[in-house]
Symmetry: C2
Amino acid sequence: MVAAVAANCVVGVDLGGTKVLVGVVDESLGVLHRIQHSSEAADANELLDRVAEMVDEAIEAAPQDVLGVGIGVAGIVDAKAGVIAASPHLPLAGLPFEALMGERLGVPVALDNDGNTSMLAEWRHGAVKGASDAVMLTVGTGIGGGIVANGALVRGSTGGGAELGHMVVEQDGEQCSCGGYGHFEWYASGAAIGRAGERALAAHPDSTLAAAAAEGREITGTLVTEMAHDGDAVCVEAIVEVGTRLGQGMVSITNIFNPQLIVVGGGAIAAGDLLLDPAREIVEHQALASLGANVSIVVAEFGADAGMVGAAVLAFEQLAQR
Amino acid sequence: MVAAVAANCVVGVDLGGTKVLVGVVDESLGVLHRIQHSSEAADANELLDRVAEMVDEAIEAAPQDVLGVGIGVAGIVDAKAGVIAASPHLPLAGLPFEALMGERLGVPVALDNDGNTSMLAEWRHGAVKGASDAVMLTVGTGIGGGIVANGALVRGSTGGGAELGHMVVEQDGEQCSCGGYGHFEWYASGAAIGRAGERALAAHPDSTLAAAAAEGREITGTLVTEMAHDGDAVCVEAIVEVGTRLGQGMVSITNIFNPQLIVVGGGAIAAGDLLLDPAREIVEHQALASLGANVSIVVAEFGADAGMVGAAVLAFEQLAQR
């Protein structure tokens, strides 16, 4: 049993669709120790055990007792009940995850969606620090969201809100992993960059990208982004296409929320301004003028750590309230 | 000069794209006197004068001194500055409307967007009374919006927010009156019902609707709705088509806000469940399951008075704070 008071570090957990990132985080948000493994698992028990082992390892590595554990999970969270209502990429749907992890770990656990924890990191200490009205997009395999309005996180009536990746942007569009149709994340995520790359190489069979495919390389968002940074015009075009779609979603976000800032994190932000400049141009020209003129589109400061660091912030804030 | 204290009635003004509705409203939200005129005007001065005359008439008709005037306007409002930033349907863009009306009237004036005032009426006293998380759609010529999250109206950083009619729902869609493309109000408004009717009569030249068109009747949302209520299958189909589009926008709203309630007002609600049942079915099947199961889609209580009554609520609340 660890001390529940007078401790000034916590463990943050980012439980994503492909990886689990665990960190020991102090009150100044320094990351003292870091562990990462795959989140692929045959069933819930295997995944719960793995996360618990990682957290135990982190607790042992911590320079002092930890106050508790914050977990940001890629799924729809009923934060009030501590339950994961849905998780297309993880075998955790329907589980009272907060209680189960608390039992395994013997320390207090706070649970939220990973989009919300990422926003919490950026809002308390990062690129949108102190904003009254801001929106975060975590653009990776899918698109996660976090919303601050009136100076508070918008989690919705059961804590499942801010699923901006599941806005309908194409009324009769492609089916999403969630079962809906035409969702934002299909068109504007990191995975969408990979798909745009596949279309581009089909249209340009003489391109460097097509040559890479012929060598057996998988056409992923990461590869397309790397080749675009190396100056490959076909890959740049693919990223501009996705950046345009990203911008169209940001038009909705701007018109709905009239935010000061839209902050973009997640793996796809490796594309940088290649991705964001087309999005900025769309917002400048297509959002309602007085709202588009008031919004800045910026890069997340915590990068790939945002979900984990934000989970630590969640632990500090929620466990301090208990 | 009227007394600024101890008065218990105000004047509410709904300044819409086609009409101005002015009412004397008491603290129990009873409407004591009501005046309506067209909002068509050659320029800002003509419209300012007309609204001022109507308000003066209302003040004279009031049984006692009025505390002030609340105005909900069809446009993008910078509520902090009291300025109308944009108003595609009215010649008021860029005007410091709150100050100009205050000068003309000699009583305190509070200004907001008409979607926000409608939500204020429904949230304080109507169909979503007391909800912590709810969204309003006013479905008429366009679609206005109002959002309550964490128990507060979401107006955005400059008060221009909640423009839900200007969500992008079709990435390469039709151009909107605001200049953007593929916006929700093009596909799911009262005007969209009229357009769906026009497509339906082209597809069904032997229909009653086609006969009405041949008699020279204009195919509007109102006509299509009336004929649908009379049982005309072609008109019912047109409304179902628009209700489906309305539902797709509500999928976005549900996934973003995880609201307890979505409340629908505006002229198009005359179609009732003919419009809302297809929308409910789409939300039930296509929203994220745990969020779709938590939301109810309901009809506004204040009907065509919502914007005006909500403007009165705004006056009571804002002027009481001064």
